[in-house]
């Protein structure tokens, strides 16, 4: 089955790349923002270890620091203080090129799906493959040999998320749940080693929410992909293999 092939590729990526390195290793991780003259500590020196293959929920109320933590792990931001290792790389070093590392290793799913309205589901899935130079896609840094994505790969991914029949549909022709599934397929197209989802079910109704959550769970369970989900939905807590609870920028559990 095609989706099985994709699952096996993701599994292979995990086994080859994770090695002994933890997926995430944070020490005294601090992120401070300025709002005018005021300094806001969004993260207050947290320590955190996430192993490869874990399915972690980062939970907490709005403003607890979940998105800030995810942005740091997702290499979209740099910490103000502390150390952060992602997939064995110390990303607090200035010399590290975050965009290249992110492109090769990290898939993102957002609460708002951010699909391009003029592109079909297939084209949206393939969008991240146009970034960066070809060597990023085929280079030795990646675990999956077949890193050059194609329409065929997009089809396999859409099959995997249950949307093989919606390949040529544009976002306006898809439901909220379907759009989020396309966003998940898009996050997987570069065969990431780490999948981050920031409130992925926040814009969905309960039934659709369960479907999308089950998909993330299945990706972790079947493929061993490390998945970190930030959510304030208390109903989902029990389904994570591990929960990191944040309150006011600090880990409380």
């Amino acid at each position: 089955m095609r989706s099985d092939e994709v699952r096996s590729q993701i599994t292979e990526a995990r086994s080859q790349n994770c090695g002994q390195d933890p997926a995430v290793q944070a020490r005294s991780l601090t992120r401070t923002y300025r709002r005018g003259a005021e300094k806001i500590k969004a993260l207050k020196g947290i320590d955190l270890d996430i192993k490869c293959g874990e399915f972690v929920g980062v939970v907490g109320h709005s403003g607890a620091g979940k998105t800030t933590l995810l942005n740091l792990i997702g290499l979209m931001d740099r910490p103000t203080e502390g150390k952060l290792g992602v997939l064995g790389t110390d990303v607090t070093r200035r010399a590290v090129r975050l965009d290249a590392l992110r492109r090769k290793n990290i898939g993102f799913v957002f609460q708002e799906f951010y699909l391009m309205p003029t592109l079909t589901a297939t084209e949206n899935v393939l969008l991240p493959t146009m970034w960066g130079k070809a060597r990023d896609m085929t280079g030795s840094g990646s675990a999956i040999v077949d890193r050059v994505p194609s329409r065929d790969r997009a089809k396999k991914l859409l099959d995997l998320v249950g949307l093989g029949h919606r390949m040529t549909h544009k976002p306006s022709e898809l439901s909220g749940g379907e759009m989020q599934r396309v966003a998940v397929a898009r996050a997987l197209v570069n065969s990431p080693r780490l999948l981050l989802a920031d409130e992925p079910t926040g814009n969905l109704d309960t039934a659709t929410r369960d479907g999308v959550f089950s998909l993330l769970l299945a990706l972790n369970r079947d493929s061993g992909l490390t998945v970190i989900v930030a959510t304030h939905d208390l109903g989902l807590e029990s389904r994570f293999t591990r929960v990191v609870r944040l309150e006011d920028g600090a880990i409380v559990k």
Partner: protein, 386 residues
Amino acid sequence: MIWFRLAFKNLIRRKTRSILTVLGVAIAIAVLYSLFQFQQGYQSQLKGELGALGAHVMVVPKGCPYEAATIALHGGKWPRYMDEGLLKDVKADPGVAEAAGVIMDAVFAPGNKNVILLGIDEDYMKLRPAWRINGHWFDSDSSVIMGPTAAQEAGVKVGDIWNVPEKNVRLQVVGVLNRTNTQDDGFVFVPRKTLQRMSGLDGKLVLILVKARHVERTDDLVASLRASEVDMNVFPLSELLGTITSLMASTRVFVSAIILIAVILGGVGVLNTVLMAVFERTKEIGMMKAMGGSRGDIFKLVWAETILTAVIGGLTGVLVALVSSRLVEALIRGMIPYAPKGSLIGFAFPTLAMCIVLSLVLGLVAGFYPAFRAASIRPVEAIKAE
């Protein structure tokens, strides 16, 4: 190619705004193409018309040289005449191979059509070796030879009688010229004496066309003619070409300045549109960066949108220029003292290429700042932005 496909799809998301921006560039490029082609067409058509005169030097009465040129090339009524005796003096110059005296008049035919009458004699034929007459040369004072267009407009053929409008004179059509594709096609040729009598201009000439014996010594001939006669203007036709084109060139400076402003405005329009699109798509650009898009990637994408807008504008502009060429020609003709007949604005690949390259440069320059702004967007802030 995928960059341009994505850029194109981004442009069609805001159709009205994109179309208006493309139009801004198109108008600037259309003006540029029209003017440039007009200049080129003007020069080559003028050269053709002067060549068709079959002469090297033109002798006209004192007066405005551009009026004289218009009369010489397109015919017409001009209230300045020379004495026919001057023709003898001109012919006597050793540097002259042939000289033909011409008298001209213009009458209105029914339907308000302007009919140009040229009074000529055998000397004129010597300047027109390429003429082929369907019929024969004048055999009496009341015969007429017509250019093919003139004959068609008058509705006559060889052997017919033609009533000269306004003059109450009947002439017999003894010949119709085979098409020459020159201004001669539209003229009516009458024996010189006949036209002089008909127009009450006995012993008068409007123009003497001179063929030099030695073309390379045309300047000497001009100097010699100028020295011998003070009541006439002597022009080498090459000088006339230079004078008229330099007159055009002086207007080009002003028009070029206007075009430059139009092109800059078009560029600012493109810059504004793309910059607005960047601001509106801050979140989307943040997402692209989150998906691994580097500064360079985002820069390329936005730049591609600008370049595409400008180049589509450029191509549309050339198309608009070609479609509206007749209208533009008519407008320009109305504003300049002399314009050759025939189509002046046509398709020319070098001009097309120049316009496209200019559009491309416009896109590159106008797109730089929006692309830079887009590339500088930080994904975290963009995704947070409301």
